[in-house]
């Protein structure tokens, strides 16, 4: 974005003058001038061109040999021919060469009909073959990973998948093996290629060599339609294109948006579509009658809900989950704060920061867009592991480090994938620091001091950068020291003068997919729409206690599962049980909603209409791509209906009109409409949005909390982390189920040795509050010796069972005869290798 524009020049391609920026690749310049030059290996997203396929040869006046247009930067006055006899001969030759070994099995090939090799053969090839010799043979198709099959006979060795693995995801797993015409794509020792972004290679493949296990033979290109939307399974909010056949989603592809995702998707977004058509999904509103849920009409269900909520006489609370759209969050807070006359509406598991601090952190001058990370000289990742919490951000950071030489600094409780830096030849991660679980505020305060003193290398990398981006996870401000951490973040920003930097600033990774949108729409305990002041309400934990004590009588659970995901699961079960009336909306049945009095079927992001807000402030539209199943319907409509039944007629008849209401109430989104947001989104910081209300929070009172005591002998500090695959998505999509983790306790080598346990040992982890759970040991490098880590949100033995424990002891579990039943479900699919 902020890169300096180079001078405009003019080149001549096939007799037509084209204006372009100096130094862009000839292929791209020609494309802008509507001249298509065929390519296979060239893909700017993958980095520098390799010039391997030779498909894009063109003649340039003054250069005797034909040149690859993908790797030739344009110069002023360049005269290029892409269609003369000499170039045509070369193009024919390359197409012919590519087909020497390519099987002509197009009629049974998944790629047939949307295949660049087909298109280029027809467009730039001779149309006939002179090859009579036998082609090469491989075993085919064989699994490259549990999600991808590889057909090596079809492979034209364009290098794209290998370059993705080595230069974008940097997992380095895919390699070219053998050489010459025997070359093939594979992994070391035929190991399965398991990596969180590997699905992208399917989309990169210009032939049918890499196919999705889940999509193979499900549809042909003429059976399908594309529908653009946004994935709301994590805060990355990648732009996607659903492949729709017979009103069902059969595939998810990336929809290039340089400002959001660079065209990449993680495997969760790519393969997490099977759940849309799951038979387990409730597809109708349900009401509880005589102890059991029965299907009901929308009108009946909403009537029932309105009555139940009204009877609580203001003692109502609502918790909004990360999958909700801005419209839903807005309507929910409006209903709770309006007709239900309560102040208790909140999003997320943790107490909100004071409104002033929240507003200060959202200050547009401190904000950076996602694409500005490309231009940062230094990136500090603190308190988040992007691979697990916002996967596509990890690729963005790797790109900045690898291609632009940004300095990367990491400071987290648990080691991250970014610590290892990237491959040889790049600057990689300068330094990775560890702080004790819960000590983010202490770390940040110390860092602010170091930056002031300018002594440590860590601090120098930040102060020396023209543009520094601080990527911070919401967990940093979630604990008891959250306020202090927020103040330290702001102090760091001030010390580094991030506000004055062009591409520097703070970048928050929210804990929930639409965490930012929900907060900015007003579903927060102390702020209303647009982060304006609102009467203080209860946090999630306070709501739980109030329900148990009877201070609250009714509960709205909107796409959220506190029993699984929040602290104190048992207390939550009791609290929900104590609620006189519960309205829940969820995509699948869950532990929290099983006693609901009214249950509404939640929409998937393929069905929903509405907006979500990206962590960098970009509003994006989620668009309905397929019809709602059964009697399910839009949730925004359910909420306007509920509001009307409660006596507040919103007057909104479409999702767009709900957004207009939000826009009127929120100074941040002022002036935005569905049209201005459009297909690629719009950042409110760039469209006139402004923050209203005080931002001077001042430093919180009280110094640092007393340092956590050293763990007792034999005990370890307990850290927990969010695992990308530990949630309902991997459990509800058969393709991803193999990734759904069982609880593991991560230990350092030394700790494991001293405990006499090894990888896979089953242990019982007991907290200092005497709560315990079972887990399998995973020995990991780089884990500090005095800490162990557990996964949040696993389907059994989730870390929240130990809520309140700060240290734990670990002992080998006594053998259990029915051990198999304890972990995982028996119907779990086995992946054959």
């Amino acid at each position: 974005m902020s890169r300096k524009r180079k001078p405009q020049i003019t080149i001549t391609v096939d007799g037509v003058e084209i204006g372009c920026e100096e130094g862009v690749m000839l292929h791209d310049a020609a494309k802008d001038g509507d001249v298509e030059i065929p390519v296979f290996c060239y893909e700017p997203k993958l980095g520098d061109p390799v010039g391997a396929c030779r498909m894009c040869l063109v003649e340039i006046e003054g250069i005797p040999k034909l040149q690859t247009s993908c790797s030739t930067p344009v110069r002023d006055g360049m005269v290029v021919y892409t269609q003369n006899d000499r170039v045509k001969e070369a193009q024919n030759a390359v197409v012919e060469f590519l087909l020497v070994n390519h099987p002509l099995d197009c009629p049974v090939c998944d790629k047939g009909g949307e295949c660049p090799l087909q298109d280029i053969s027809m467009g730039w090839g001779e149309g006939k073959s002179r090859v009579t010799d036998p082609k090469r043979h491989f075993q085919k198709p064989i699994p490259l990973s549990p999600l991808i099959k590889i057909d090596r006979e079809r492979c034209i060795l364009c290098y794209r998948c290998v370059r993705f693995s080595q230069e974008v995801a940097e997992d380095e797993q895919l390699q070219l093996l053998e050489r010459g015409p025997k070359t093939f794509v594979g992994t070391y020792n035929d190991r399965p290629y398991v990596a969180p972004f590997h699905g992208n290679i399917i989309e990169l493949c210009p032939v049918g060599a890499l196919t999705s296990q889940a999509y193979r033979f499900r549809a042909r290109p003429w059976d399908i339609e594309d529908a653009g939307s946004v994935c709301t399974l994590c805060p990355s909010q990648c732009n996607v294109k659903f492949t729709v056949r017979d009103e069902g989603v059969v595939r998810v592809l990336g929809r290039d948006n340089e400002e959001v995702d660079d065209g990449w998707l993680c495997d969760k977004g790519r393969f997490g579509y099977q759940m849309f058509s799951s038979g387990d999904r409730p597809t109708s509103p349900q009401i509880r009658e005589g102890g059991a849920l029965r299907e009901a009409s929308w009108d009946e269900a909403l009537e029932h809900a309105a009555r139940g909520l009204t009877e609580a006489h203001g003692k109502v609370a609502a918790i909004v989950g990360g999958g909700a759209s801005n419209e839903e969050a807005y309507l929910l807070q409006r209903i709770v704060r309006g007709p239900l006359a309560s102040t208790d509406v909140t999003g997320g598991a943790h107490a909100a920061l004071p409104a002033a601090a929240r507003r200060a952190l959202a200050d547009p001058s401190l904000a950076v867009s996602t694409s500005q990370i490309d231009d940062a000289n230094a990136i500090l990742v603190v308190g988040t592991d992007p691979m697990h919490e916002m996967p596509i951000l990890e690729l963005r950071i790797r790109k900045a480090v690898r291609r632009r030489g940004a300095d990367l600094l990491v400071a987290t409780e648990r080691p991250t994938a970014l610590d290892g830096g990237s491959a040889v030849g790049t600057s990689g991660c300068l330094e990775a620091k560890r702080y004790a679980p819960g000590a983010a505020a202490d770390f940040l305060e110390e860092l602010v001091g170091e930056v002031r003193e300018g002594e440590s290398e860590f601090a120098k990398a930040l102060t020396g950068a023209d543009d520094a981006v601080v990527v911070w996870g919401e967990s940093v401000t979630a604990g008891p020291d959250g306020e202090r951490a927020a103040a330290a973040l702001l102090a760091l920003a001030a010390e580094l003068d991030l506000a004055g930097q062009e591409s520097g600033g703070l970048y928050e990774v929210p804990a929930d997919a639409n965490g930012r949108g929900i907060r900015e729409a007003g579903a927060s305990q102390n702020t209303g729409p647009g982060l304006t002041d609102a009467p203080a309400g209860r946090s999630a934990a306070e709501i739980r206690d109030a329900l148990e004590s009877g201070e609250l009588e009714a509960l709205i659970l909107w796409d959220v599962d506190p029993v699984r995901d929040f602290d104190e699961p048992e207390a939550w079960s009791r609290a929900i049980g104590a609620s006189n009336f519960t309205l829940s909306a969820s995509m699948f049945g869950n532990a929290s909603g099983q006693n609901a009095d009214v249950h509404l079927p939640a929409e998937t992001h393929a069905e929903k209409e509405g907006t979500v807000t990206h962590p960098d402030g970009r509003l994006q539209r989620v668009r309905p791509s397929i019809p709602h199943p059964g009697n399910a319907g839009p949730l925004w409509q359910a909420l306007t209906g509920l509001s009307a039944k409660l006596g507040d007629e919103t007057g909104a008849g479409t999702a767009q009109e709900v957004f207009e209401l939000l826009e009127q109430d929120s100074p941040l989104y002022s002036g935005m409409t569905y049209d201005t947001i459009g297909g690629t989104g719009q950042r409110w910081q760039e469209s006139g949005g402004a923050i209203e209300g005080a931002i001077e929070g001042g430093a919180p009172e009280g110094g640092p909390s007393p340092a956590a005591p050293e763990p007792a002998a034999g005990a370890l500090r307990l850290g927990t982390y969010h695992d990308l695959w530990a949630d309902y998505v991997s459990e509800r999509n058969p393709a991803l189920e193999f990734l759904s983790p069982d609880q593991t306790v991560e230990l350092s080598e030394a700790t494991a040795k001293s405990l006499g346990v090894g990888n896979g040992t089953e242990v019982i982890v007991t907290g200092d509050n005497d709560r315990s759970l079972r887990a399998h040991v995973a020995v990991r490098h780089r884990i500090p010796d005095d800490v162990c880590f557990l996964i949040e949100g696993t389907r059994e033995n989730a870390a929240n069972l130990l809520s309140g424990a700060s240290t734990v002891t670990i002992a080998e579990a006594p053998p259990e005869p029915e051990e198999e039943q304890t972990f995982g479900t028996s119907e779990r699919e086995k992946v054959e290798w």
């Binding site: 036998p134 093939f184 040889v424």
Partner: protein, 437 residues
């Protein structure tokens, strides 16, 4: 005309291999001279003026190439290309085996001239014993202060590492050599950027052949004018020529560039074994094949180029009347098919397809039409590849099909007569290859 020995002077003295023996024969005088008297700029201009052309194959002016390296405070590298893998070429092997210090001296001087403080010798893995000789010589040179920090007490530094290749012809291609040296798969890189600007680990890199670097001490000792007094105007100096194939005395002969090719083959190498010369590769197996008509051409870069071939690495392979040209074409093509790295399409598929077609030619399963296809495929390869490996097969094969087309047709006819393929024969199915079979 006898040999003109410059690099080969005293080559048969077994002591030459040691530092002491080399010094006794006047070795390292040039390096000492450079330390005392010469500025890098002066050295560079001398190397350019002497007209020394690269002996590895491309024949580019060594001095010019060294001059392309940017000046300034960055890490620059010197790589000696000792991956001598071109069929028919074995000159560097003998030079390094018998006179390793001359190479080390050349590297040290070139390193100082081009301000490259880190140098590598990339030697093909198959030259295991030669590698050992180099290791010993390098150790000796370090011991004597001729390499490393502060050469001969000066401020100059040249560190030298001998690196053994892993057995790939392509690693003789300069950019593939760099990738291999960096620990990557040895595949050629896209040029530009040329190694002189962005080479090893991204730094400016000078890459020279063994023989080229060995000429450097002689240029320094005797001056550019003396050097230019050998050879022709465009091909100065001497050349170690490897003569092999159907000759009575195969071996390395150092001659002044410009002597008639016939003298090399008939006088020095003893002439063909059976009858007359039928065909000859003038510069390694990648050079288009010449016939008896070209035997009287002077052996120079320019005359070989004018004749439609190239002097290349200076390796003459002679085929006498006993040799079947189609079989020679197949043998040549198979080599490049085996060695193609597979990165770019025309080379990977072109070598593969050509071999299949030539195999049909010698089996008698081809028609004259296939000869047209073979010729056209070679044209489609030439100039379309990422590096010159594809051209290295296409040029000789194309030259053979063109010049000896009649013999190709006869070969097909004879082979078909000998083993007629039934018209309803099952087509040959390639054996499945792959993983986990």
């Amino acid at each position: 005309m006898p040999e003109t020995r410059m690099l080969f002077r005293h080559i048969d003295d077994p002591e030459l291999r040691t530092l002491e023996g080399y010094k006794r024969r006047g070795g390292y005088a040039a390096l000492e001279e450079v330390m005392r008297l010469r500025e890098p700029e002066e050295l560079l201009s001398e190397l350019e003026q002497c007209g020394l052309r690269g002996r590895g194959g491309a024949g580019f002016s060594m001095g010019k190439k060294a001059g392309f390296l940017p000046r300034g405070e960055m890490q620059k590298y010197l790589c000696c290309n000792a991956d001598e893998s071109e069929p028919g070429t074995f000159k560097d092997r003998e030079l390094m085996w018998k006179n390793p210090h001359q190479l080390i001296e050349g590297i040290a001087i070139a390193g100082i001239a081009a301000d490259t403080t880190k140098a590598f010798i990339f030697i093909r893995g198959e030259y295991a014993e030669v590698g050992d000789v180099l290791d010993e010589a390098v150790a000796e040179a370090y011991e004597a202060g001729l390499l490393g920090e502060g050469i001969l007490g000066s401020k100059e530094t040249v560190d030298l590492v001998v690196h053994r290749g892993a057995g790939a012809y392509i690693c003789g291609e300069e950019t593939a050599l760099l990738d291999s040296l960096e620990g990557k798969r040895g595949n050629p890189r896209l040029k530009p950027p040329f190694p002189a600007i962005q080479g090893l680990y991204g730094g400016p890199t000078l890459i020279n052949n063994v023989e080229t670097l060995m000429n450097v001490p002689h240029v320094v000792n005797n001056g550019a004018d003396w050097f230019k007094s050998f050879g022709t105007e465009q091909s100065t100096g001497t050349k170690v020529v490897s003569v092999s194939g159907c000759v009575k005395r195969p071996g390395n002969y150092e001659v002044e560039l410009g002597i008639p090719s016939r003298e090399l083959i008939y006088d020095l190498a003893g002439g063909p074994i059976q009858g007359e010369v039928k065909a000859w590769y003038p510069g390694g197996s990648s050079a288009p094949v010449l016939g008896p008509e070209e035997l009287d051409l002077p052996y120079t870069f320019e005359d070989m180029a004018d004749a439609g071939s190239m002097l290349g690495s200076g390796a003459i392979i002679v085929a006498d009347e006993s040799v079947s040209i189609p079989h020679m074409a197949l043998r040549t093509a198979r080599f490049y098919h085996h060695e193609s790295c597979g990165k770019c399409t025309p080379c990977r598929e072109g070598t593969n397809w050509t071999v299949k077609m030539l195999e049909r030619v010698v089996r008698g399963e081809a028609t004259p039409m296939d000869l047209d296809i073979i010729a056209s495929v070679q044209e489609n390869i030439i100039g379309h590849c990422l590096c010159v490996l594809g051209d290295a097969m296409a040029m000789p094969v194309a030259s053979m099909v063109k010049r000896w087309r009649g013999e190709f047709e006869e070969t097909i006819a004879k082979a078909r007569e000998a083993a007629p393929a039934p018209l309803d024969a099952e087509p040959a199915i390639a054996t499945p290859i792959g993983v986990g079979a």
